[in-house]
Symmetry: C3
């Protein structure tokens, strides 16, 4: 198995073999986080810059911990504390960071395509940590790692994604990756939240949650962006929750070994009932744990591991 990419910009373009290398590497690195001494010297002397134009707890922390467990040095920049306010262009800021010889630039940016743009100007490896409504590939990879861990394989797996797929970079990256790996993807949500081109991606689309639940091996609930309500995409929180929130009652018709996922942060009582989020089918916290492992794997693979 080999991996020769220099950037991780999205799930789009990753081959089945590449995804498998990432997931297998992540599985082997996962146990480091369960040791007393959670640290290996693999990336000692490498510099990872976390560059977040959007607020983030878990993704930034996850990258920072992943880098430190591989002994890399980390520097974190957020839009609020930096001179980004001074009107410098994104490319100039990135070239400036680049000139300090980092090995990896992890970027989250509100503009779709920002990481791709940077990768054309930057020698360092660029990792997309979420770009606008476009992609969030490390989330998809940790989701797929969790599915494979619980289900053995992604091939033929039936994955139901529920909620606002139109505005979800998590859904988009998952759909691309899951199709590459041979899974079958279903999507449920209000018509205003299901983009018209979903079927062209090979996704089975429906407007009622119940019809898909009995077939699903995996149910992935998306976070409802509450600020969307002003855009009138749904009549009320209560309606949304009633028709597209995952309730304990829904699970009666589910497979006995279904798993429930959510990328977080949770709106408890909106898209997911607290009993479901904390219940026996939920693997939400496994996703977070696997997030560190997937990010360790990517840092390791993009930097060529110990060989370089």
């Amino acid at each position: 198995m080999s991996f020769s990419r220099h950037h991780l910009l999205g799930m789009k373009g990753l081959t089945r073999e590449e995804i498998e290398v990432i997931l297998t590497t992540a599985e082997s690195l996962k146990e480091i986080s369960f040791r007393d001494i959670k640290k290996v010297p693999t990336l000692r002397g490498r510099t990872v810059v976390n560059f977040f134009y959007e607020a983030s707890t878990r993704t930034r922390t996850s990258f920072e911990i992943a880098a430190k467990r591989l002994s890399a040095d980390t520097v974190s920049l957020s839009a609020s504390t930096s001179s980004l306010v001074k009107g410098e262009t994104l490319i100039d800021t990135a070239k400036n960071l680049e000139a300090m010889n980092p090995d990896v630039l992890v970027i989250r940016h509100p503009m779709g395509g920002a990481p791709h743009l940077l990768s054309r100007f930057i020698r360092a490896s660029v990792i997309n940590a979420g770009d606008g409504l476009h992609e969030h590939p490390t989330q998809a990879l940790l989701d797929m790692m969790t599915m494979r861990e619980k289900k053995g394989t992604l091939q033929g797996l039936q994955v139901l994604i529920v909620g606002d797929l139109t505005h979800s970079r998590v859904a988009r990256s998952n759909i691309i990756g899951l199709k590459t790996m041979g899974a079958r993807v279903m999507a449920a949500g209000p018509p205003t939240m299901l983009p018209p081109h979903l079927e062209a991606y090979g996704v089975e689309v429906g407007y009622r949650l119940e019809e898909f639940i009995p077939r699903a091996d995996v149910i992935m609930m998306l976070r409802l962006q509450l600020e969307r309500q002003q855009q009138m995409l749904f009549p009320s929180l209560r309606e949304y929750s009633r028709f597209f929130g995952l309730q304990p009652g829904n699970l009666k018709k589910a497979k006995k070994d279904v798993i429930i996922m959510h990328p977080g942060p949770l709106n408890r009582g909106v898209e997911i009932h607290p009993e479901v989020a904390d219940g026996p089918y939920s693997v939400i916290l496994d996703q977070v744990t696997n997030g560190v492992a997937v990010r360790m794997a990517l840092l390791y693979l993009l930097l060529g591991g110990e060989k370089k």
Copy 2:
């Protein structure tokens, strides 16, 4: 001597023996900060997450430096730069951090009891770095370390606390700890700032600073929360300063070896006169130095030292 706690939530419940173990350990670790190479490998590969919902310079920095001097990895989150704004519950945020396998979660939160709540859901060690008006145990421990260092023992020591005890988590933690260690505590302040139950804690209460000064071995001035003035707890800053600020003149009647303490940040000219803050009796900066040592001791003891 042994220490088998997993969390440090407050001074309440700590035994005399436990406090002595913490202080003695802190005393032995203190010299590390005076070396050229201020670092020992004790906690290499451990992860300490500093999670501050309230702004803080000295406490966060002190924990971060303490962790680094023991070679632990640190990640710091503040409410302003994280997704806490997205409305996730405290417990969900903590469980997410937990899923990344930190060893210690240091938390400051405006809600009293927040660390206690988390400790019921979290495997990692929780350290309370200040919870609302409730407790601030690491401050009390560094204060007690400073008193013991300067006075030899806490047993029988006469400690005068001055100011707004009603709204001070520092005072509360000190009173609990000092009583456990056999010290005698006196409190002085305007009646609006002395909670009615103080005497039930065994504290001697008075409304005039002068009456207690001659007996005090230690005078601990509390910071006046200037925003309290709107609540009409005192008539004016000038009045407060005249009756409850520590002036050079006050010290004429004090013991020759009295020590003056303050948790910082100082309101110079309000609760403490600059000549007193910078004078020969002041141990205010010793408190800060000892803060690093106490936090090193706690990280070391909670993680089971090198044994684990």
Copy 3:
């Protein structure tokens, strides 16, 4: 060669020999940032506190990376997330940090002279990372390192500085340092932006860019502080750009081996045309790379290197 200073407060007062030691040390440390393992153990166990009262991306990141490449521990504080808001004096805050035994305090502050003030109260080494309109010595040193690297020597070099010299700490530090090293400095800008005492410093002053360009070995464009326009220092951006922005046409009359510098962040199309910023004469990103090397050199020299 020797270096016995304990603080770096400004270019003022540095001797020619001291500047040469700093630049030569920086040149020898530069290659560390081009290794795979970008880290040497020189400052292991030392603590560097970055204390920024003003927002900064590149300067803070540069110091943080420089410290980490020498294996020092770093703690970063910014005004927004700290208790600076609580009204503590600068000196008290600094003394508190000092009491935690850092080795170096890097400070940026809006008040000119703040680092000098601190250095009188603090045992740790103080490095000025920009103080008000006063000095920014590490910027001047990285600029001089870049000039020496490209031109071989500073002696006799003709350096043209263009823009708002009145409000530029970068210009001020460069003028002082360049004069010490025997360079000749010219300044061009609108009369409102050229301080009357420039000529007393030995700077040749002019109001037209064109007259100096043919003689310049180095052209240093200053960032236009856009907020100054409200002060009516210039009629319009367009006028400013036309008369004092560096355009491709300007370079036709320049020396064949001229170099173009800018401290960043760039206002593309205002003080510098994009073609010039990205063109063959530009050494703007070399400046950033050299910034890490200069800061490594200063940390190393101020802490006495490995000898201590």
